[in-house]
Amino acid sequence: MYLYDPIDQRLVDERVAQYRDQTRRFLAGRLSDADFLPLRLQNGLYLQRHAPMLRVAIPYGLLTSRQLQRLAHIARTYDRGYGHFSTRQNLQFNWPKLEQVPDILAELADVQMHAIQTSGNCIRNITTDHFAAVAPDEIVDPLVWAELLRQWSTLHPEFAFLPRKFKIAISGARDDRAATLVHDIGLQARHDDSGAIGFRVIVGGGLGRTPMVGHAIREFIAWPHLLTYLEAILRVYNRYGRRDNKYKARIKILVKDRTPQGFAAEVDEEWRHLAGGPGTLEQAELDRVAARFTRPAYRPLPATSAYIDTMRQADPAFRRWHERNVHPHRVSGYAAVTLSLKRPAMAPGDATADQMDAIAGLAQRFSFGELRVTHEQNLVFADVERDRLYELWQALRPLGLASANVGLIGNVISCPGGDFCALANAVSIPVAQAIQHRFENLDYQYDIGELDLNISGCINACGHHHIGHIGILGVDKAGEEWYQVTIGGRQGASAAIGRIIGPAISREAVPDAVESLIRVYLSGRESETERFVDFVHRVGLDPFREAVYAHAD
């Protein structure tokens, strides 16, 4: 965990004071709704269907037990006893009172947290790999870079009023677990031929109304120049991005209009003036930020645990969980563990205050008092001793956090949808729950194999439906809720946008349609190693169309 220094703390405290004053002026009628709107959004406050919604930043998804306990306290004191982990590695409270938000922000600042730039047309929370710093395939530790980017983007004076929101993701590993291809800017750590570290820069990816996979505009930017190069991109976008139509205002539209090559040339021309100037990073700063991260005091341990091997043989349920939810670690004898926030009785990504407290306690016992939030709306204990995995599993089961469904259909990603969100066309959570019920049988989930099913309640795509192997999108048809189904989307290094199989279907028809898709796959796959998404790319949409719409007739 990055520990704030006195200046970091001071800035967050001053932001609380500034927002408290803004709220006071709004409540006194001295700031109009229109003038207050961008100010509150830049502090994560939406006015939603039932109540305001406050989005708390969890920078690059990293949390301490103490911070999670404070989030639990806030959930109990200011909300209705739960929070929702979002696909942006943030936490959302759905029921705060507008006048209490400054107090909530003060509670957050007290544990080195904030809600700065979690919404609004500015640079949003920086996201990264949830296995950062522990993944065996890592080139650089992206946490240090993500924190540098957090500081650089926080209250950036030039880029507070961009044409539209701006999301940056950074991956430090060979395997891209940060979805860098579908962000406004995606950064992928690289070595150049001389072994120097830098980043491949992807621009113009994104989901939403016009889903696109981003373009590499620079294969390698050496690390000292990262911030000035980003400034060049942001400046070109700030000056020339469209402001006349919010649906055409994302950087992806500008990149498309200028062509990726043309856009890259404009950025290079801008950067020519900035390269080597103020903001050029130095080794000392890198070292300083790296040194402010606490690091686990790993014990020397054997790579494998005979005890755990025995328990895997003895207990099939544990074996399954171990297979799906336990991940490799760069340090011998340790593993990263996914705590699933997905089970039929709960909305995907939701956690109650009691669960948060319990998780915080377990993180203390098992993972050096830290945890991560994933963009799949789960939590990760990154540093668990392999020998203690069975003990951890037993502790997670009564909390409902041991669903062995990571990578399976039960691990549904879903936005809050029309039950909460004012933007949504349709509900998401009941659809997710209906699908989870239909596929509750874990044996069946295992037989189906790896399958990402993502649900968004509207075209803003917070549920990342475009990159789900199966994507479900809520649409409005003459005031009624309908659902459009896409297949073939995927994340990672070969990210692809899913394709629509046909006309939208009713909510009741969704579980049957999903089951039809899966039957087509199960009866046609070459072998168990051919995943659903691979099968889709091999055979195309037709067999799926026939199955779903024949079934519907």
């Binding site: 006195p6 001071r10 001053e14 609380v16 650089w152 004076p157 009023f161």
Partner: protein, 246 residues
């Protein structure tokens, strides 16, 4: 009429805008139709081009702010005016187009049609950091209290506040934050100034202990008065607010 401030107080505005457009085009504060800063109807490029040797029909000594499109169309004509000249840039204007004119100008103003249109921030930084503009740089239009800190960081030093803004309250905005991370026009990046910045924060933290615990109990005036102003080489200590009529 908008109130003009700089970071130290209210300032008199002696500039008039040439040409029919209000200086704060699109600024909601002017929906009433009240014109800002004594508009002069001269040099409208929609009118026939002036004959050779013509000068703008303005009293000698008048400080005239010329919209960039009019300036670019008729530089020679404007330069025959006997008095200070300034250029008013719209958000879509490219500051590079007036880079060569900077030695002849006494003011540059940038319009914010809406405070959520952030193009003017980039224009300001380009003028200051790329084109070397050292003269006064003014934000006009939908200029509100809560953007002043950011505008100042990008190089603006004059602010024509939207009509409904309280100048005294606006003047506190420059102290919203006592430190910043990024390099901009006003300061280098924090990591490029670390030792000095940390020494300052240690001092400010001592001052903070004088504040009472609950932020609610502290009035906004008290909040700012307990803070020290960041040391700025070459800048005089913050003077008391002047209140010249505008």
């Amino acid at each position: 009429m908008p109130t003009l401030i700089d970071r130290h107080g209210v300032r008199e505005d002696r500039w008039v805008v040439a040409h029919g457009e209000p200086a704060v085009a699109g600024g909601r504060a002017h929906a009433s139709g009240e014109a800002p800063a004594g508009r002069a109807h001269a040099g409208d490029p929609s009118q026939p081009a002036p004959a050779d040797g013509d000068a703008p029909p303005l009293a000698p000594g008048t400080a005239v702010l010329v919209p960039a499109h009019a300036w670019l169309a008729q530089r020679a004509y404007w330069q025959r005016h006997d008095g200070p000249l300034g250029v008013l840039l719209a958000p879509h204007d490219d500051p590079a187009t007036i880079a060569a004119d900077l030695p002849r100008l006494a003011l540059i103003a940038v319009t914010f049609p809406s405070f959520t249109d952030g193009r003017g921030y980039s224009i300001a930084r380009l003028l200051r950091e790329r084109h070397g503009w050292r003269g006064p740089l003014r934000a006009v239009g939908d200029v509100q209290r809560d953007q002043l800190f950011l505008l100042a960081r990008c190089g603006f030093d004059g602010f024509a506040l939207r009509d409904d803004q309280d100048a005294d309250e606006a003047l506190t905005a420059f102290d919203d934050f006592t430190e910043v991370y990024q390099a901009a026009t006003d300061r280098r990046a924090l990591f490029e100034r670390r030792p000095a910045a940390e020494a300052h924060t240690a001092g400010a933290a001592r001052a903070d202990t004088h504040r009472s615990g609950g932020a609610d109990a502290v009035s906004s005036a008290a909040w700012t008065s307990t803070r020290t102003t960041p040391a700025q080489p070459g800048r005089a200590p913050a003077p008391s607010k002047s209140s010249s009529p505008s």
